[in-house]
Amino acid sequence: MTSRETIRVGAGAGTSDDRMVPALELAERGDIDYLVFECLAERTVSRENLARSKDANLGYAPSLHARLRLVLPACIRKGIRIVSNMGAANPLGGARATRKEAADLGLGDVPVAVVLGDDVSSIVKHRPGLKLIENGEPLESILPTMISANAYLGADVVCEALNTGAPIVLSGRVADPSLFLAPMLHEFGWAHDDLPKIAQGTAAGHLLECTASVTGGCFGWPGKKDVPDLARNGYPFADVKADGSVVIGKTPGTGGRLDVMTCTEQLIYEIHDPTAYITPDCVLDITGISLRQEAPDRVRVEGARARPRTETYKVNVGYADGYIGEGEVSYGGIDAVERAKWAAEIVKERLKLQGFTYDDFRVDLIGMSSLHDRVEIRPQPYEVRLRMAGRTRERKAAHAIGFEVRAMHMHGPGGAGGACEPRVRDVLAVKSVLLPKNLVNAQVVVEGSL
């Protein structure tokens, strides 16, 4: 624990595919102490588990290399500590890759603290009776094709990793806001039951976890919600004090906007009951929060409340669930929509004639009804793209959809153009269970010498 009065925690990624340059700008010009990269979507860990099963060195976020190559020199030079869940399904492998990147960049021997224990597949395997949150069925129902099971760990174990002094902390599954809360616990020594502070820190983490969503990304609307210089939008940070006060800001000299409107949208984002946003660290209540514009691009956050953390971790269970096949083809001009609809009927009949069946099937008229349905009330567009998709146990049946849609070029209504190649992808489905925390062995190991 240091004696700093204020720390600045920056957000460097909100998804594995997030833009990277704004993270570098934040490291270079944002005067930050910590840079957090949140890189795991719901099914990322399952996908990376499959990668690891093919090559034991893989299984961490593939974007780790490019991201670290870009930001590591600035972070090491300025003493900015990195916290990230880019370890995905193989945090140790990710740590080794990180150390190699650092060495290749001429930064020397950089130790990495690794958070382990989120992989609970061997624990849940022996508890087939655990109830799936989504449908109440026993875990047993998806165990035969289970690929991964990972608990959302909390800020406590990430804080422990920071306590080692390693400049970089790498984890697998950790709840998004917890990655941001951890540096606050580490710096200020907040106890887990100091709820007003844990609440403020968690709210700050939630505001930062989607990076540009609070600085004008996913927000703008011409003439209604204008965003200046969106092409050069910057990433946000939180200035946090030991007493739990929080102000959100963004990299100086970047585009975008950070104000009460952008912060409100992000604050409510992906929250269900706003009095009970459950994280591993607390049960956050955002209904008392007020946001205040304190200066240009600076918003103060006050009034977060929380109840004590629960006794369980949420565990995401990834499992194989068949295949999704899809195909697309376009029609334009007179009667474009009628021809597209006719084509859809022909494809469906041909799939049926071949004996293929689907658990779920969908026909979209892109340009008309692919997003919000209700084709019957939509105006007719000049051109339309037919998309057909189905989910099935059989790879062959999945492939046949795109194959038959493409065949509309030669075997369908007149004037079909631009069909795509047939597409098939493995379905990595995710369901969740709650696991008592005392069954989970969250721990820290250090790769390299401190």
């Binding site: 719901e42 099914r43 989504e134 996913c218 927000f219 609307w221 209604k224 919600k225 409107m261 409100t264 949208e265 992000q266 604050l267 409510i268 984002y269 992906e270 929250i271 269900h272 009951d273 706003p274 009095t275 955002i286 209904t287 008392g288 929060i289 007020s290 946001l291 009034g303 669930d321 999704i324 899809e326 779920d360 099937f361 969908r362 979209d364 892109i366 692919s370 997003l371 919000h372 349905d373 209700r374 998309r387 998709a389 189905g390 989910r391 379905v427 990595l428 489905a429 995710v430 969740s432």
Partner: protein, 104 residues
């Protein structure tokens, strides 16, 4: 005469599993009471009945001059298995903004 939600509020959609949550945030706090009266869960369910099975729950956030609408069974089974193009339902906030309400 009628007014669209779009005229009074902005919105963002998020996802968790097969559930969509859509925030509705008033541009001006004075419209919160009107939306509280008129933008009922029933009205929202009606606008989404072609997309979602529901139910719809509305949570008030008076401090933030906002509401959070939680729409269940809305995302084609959830992001990991959905056949939709917009698997996260990010565009669903626009269904909400297009809802017409009686003129205040």
């Amino acid at each position: 005469m009628s007014v669209r939600v779009y005229d009074l509020a902005h919105a963002r959609a998020g996802d968790k599993g097969n559930t969509s949550n859509i925030s509705i945030i008033c541009y001006d706090a004075k419209h919160w009471g009107f939306l509280s009266r008129e933008l009922t869960p029933e009205r929202v369910m009606d606008a989404f009945k072609h997309i979602a099975k529901g139910p719809v729950t509305r949570y008030p956030l008076r401090n933030l001059k906002a509401f959070n609408f939680v729409i269940e069974n809305a995302l084609g089974g959830g992001v990991t298995i959905s056949l939709a193009q917009d698997i996260h339902g990010k565009s669903l906030s626009n269904v909400m903004l297009a809802i017409e309400l009686p003129d205040p």
